[in-house]
Amino acid sequence: MQLTGCQIIMEVLIEQGVTTVFGYPGGQVLSLYDALYEYRNRINHVLSAHEQGACHAADGYSRASGEVGVCIATSGPGATNIITGLATAKADSIPMVAITGNVPLDLIGTDSFQEVDTIGLSIPVTKHSFLIKSIDKLADTLREAFRVAKSGRPGPVLVDVPKNIQIATAEYTPKPKVEKIPDEKPDTALLDEALMLIEQSERPLIYCGGGVINANCQQQLQALAEKCDAYVAFSMMALTAMDCDHPKYLGMSGMHGRIAATRAFGETDLIIAAGVRFTERATGNKTKFAKNAKIIHLDIDPAEHGKNIDANLKIKGCLTTALKYLTENTKQKDNEAWRNIMDEYKNHTKETKTVDGCMMPWEIIGAVNKKAAPETNVATDVGQHQMWVAQYYNFKKPRTHLTSGGLGTMGYGMGAAIGGAIATGNQTVLFTGDGSFGMNLNEMATAVSQNLPLIVVIFNNKVLGMIRQWQSLFFNNHFMATVLDRETDFVKLAEAFGANGYRATNITELNSALDKAFALKSPCIIDCYIPSEENVFPMVPPNGSLDNIILK
């Protein structure tokens, strides 16, 4: 069958099971959009307000569904606008494919209109990128992009398609959906050594990272925790890997982690790290990290072994297989003394103080939590509100937490929430700050045009809270550029976008707004006032020891 390059792209997307793409049209993707017109009954195109929003939406779609998210952008500024989105996905190992148009091959390098070195820009922010130089290689290269995105340690892949390739014709032969390359089997001899360490351990701690979500091995992780009577601490990327009500669940550890989860690292004698990369935000000072513990590091990516922490046992390969093997070959353990220590820490109550006349962040999260369903998507932006959500929201189901962990991208949340809502069809809540929301609030337009069940909860403290917090703790209260002298009326803003807007200054108003918001099933904003001075605690100061937690 002779098809144009653009038609081939559509056919390959359909082969891969893609039903939705996020994008923004432009000069060098006009032909591609003409093909999207032709295929409009088979591929749903979601128009964003800005290419960055489209890229974050593809990322959120991927996180919520486990499928490869797809976004489309034109050459030049279209391509540069998705760079932040690609870097966000790369930092969190999210599989996605970005398709960019480019000027015709014979114009590349001539500084033509809307031309930029897309491939060059993509190198540090993607897992790989392909420039298509021949129509004959288009179909297989696009298929390969999907394979690369989801195989091994997942990540974003960019495919740059010059205009002349888009309109050239070639023979197209359908092929089945590409499978991911099977994960390498972990070395059994090393796993047997791990079993010996588990056998000797009296205070085991599983440290669970985003790799567990990517590998979809939450059940195997929980089974291992139960079998070796281990507690489980989480990186922010993995908070949905276990039901938060499970007795072994400690929550997030690290700089703003829960006390029990963070303290556990100083008490444990064995860390079983699964799909986690020990960033400095999670470990604090590495020379003082987990001094009493041996470390078993399971990861699909051997480059993570020894990068941040030198483990006693480094085991590369399939996480599911490794966890299953360890569970099946471990005797049921009963670590009573360990439970006594950790139950004591777990009893440290979370912050619940209230202040007359204003709402506290945990009250807002609690109120939303009560009305949300287990499968409600919870997206966040970046900053204090993100930490409060990680600390206080009760996650029950995998893939319901959409947050930029590694790159920490303010402005991520709107796109991600849109992607998550479209991927699942479920009610979605975006917790954001007045700072973060200001970065990409233009995507409210997208939420309205798609009529998504999206509730935007703004933690409005009139400051850039997290930076302000550091200024107050480490920069002598010099609040430089963190006080927002803005008069933005978020209720009117919502209405201007064609959404509903509510204001909540106390918990009664919030509950009433939430009742309306959850009933709406369409986009709305709830502007929640919180005190400017409220800081996120617990906190381990940068490069501090995890044993030295500032509680307030």
């Binding site: 491939i119 060059g120 190198i123 897992k127 790989h128 420039l131 690369v148 051997p302 480059a303 020894g306």
Partner: protein, 174 residues
């Protein structure tokens, strides 16, 4: 941990953009690269890159693992010094006439280098060998006046009949 110098051989697909991806890693990961050479191999679809770098064991381990992850990279091998032929090419232009020229030519003989060009007032000498030999020669001719010199960086091949990239490797990556 000590900062050792080490050589790494890399087999990559021979296409445009590959060198950019590898050199981009150096700045991304703060690797200290001393030399970098690239050229075709017996298989025109593949290119062979030799990198010499310095760093502690962690840096060395990370450099090899991060390069191995690149899509276009087929194989990465850390070369063991005692079992590796290392060579570099130097072309140096020395200012010398009369007696001083004779002394430079004598030295050139001792180092088994080759005179490739002469002009009134200067001589151009080509020398291959390990870096230490090239350094020694440069040190010797320095007092005579070096006008300019150019070095290729090291290339490395394992001694004996074993090869870096075999048929088995190409099956694995196919």
């Amino acid at each position: 941990m000590s900062n050792e110098r080490f050589a790494v051989s890399i087999i990559v697909t021979n296409q445009s953009g590959v060198l950019t991806r590898i050199s981009s890693l150096f700045s991304q990961r703060d690797f200290n690269i001393d030399t970098f050479t690239s050229g075709e191999t017996e298989n025109p679809a593949l290119a062979r890159i030799t990198i010499t770098a310095s760093g502690d064991n962690r840096k060395k381990d990370q450099l090899i693992k991060q390069i191995s992850k690149l899509y276009d990279v087929k194989k990465v091998v850390l070369m063991t010094p005692e079992n590796t032929i290392l060579r570099e090419l130097l072309i140096v232009k020395v200012k010398a006439t009369g007696d001083r020229l004779r002394e430079v030519l004598d030295a050139s003989n001792v180092f088994r280098s080759k005179v490739v060009d002469m002009s009134p007032g200067s001589v151009c000498i080509e020398l291959t060998g390990e870096s230490s030999k090239l350094n020694a020669f440069l040190k010797y001719v320095e007092p005579y006046g070096i006008l300019e010199y150019c070095r290729t960086g090291l290339i490395a091949v394992e001694r004996g009949s074993a090869c870096l990239y075999t048929e088995d490797d190409s099956k694995e990556t196919a």
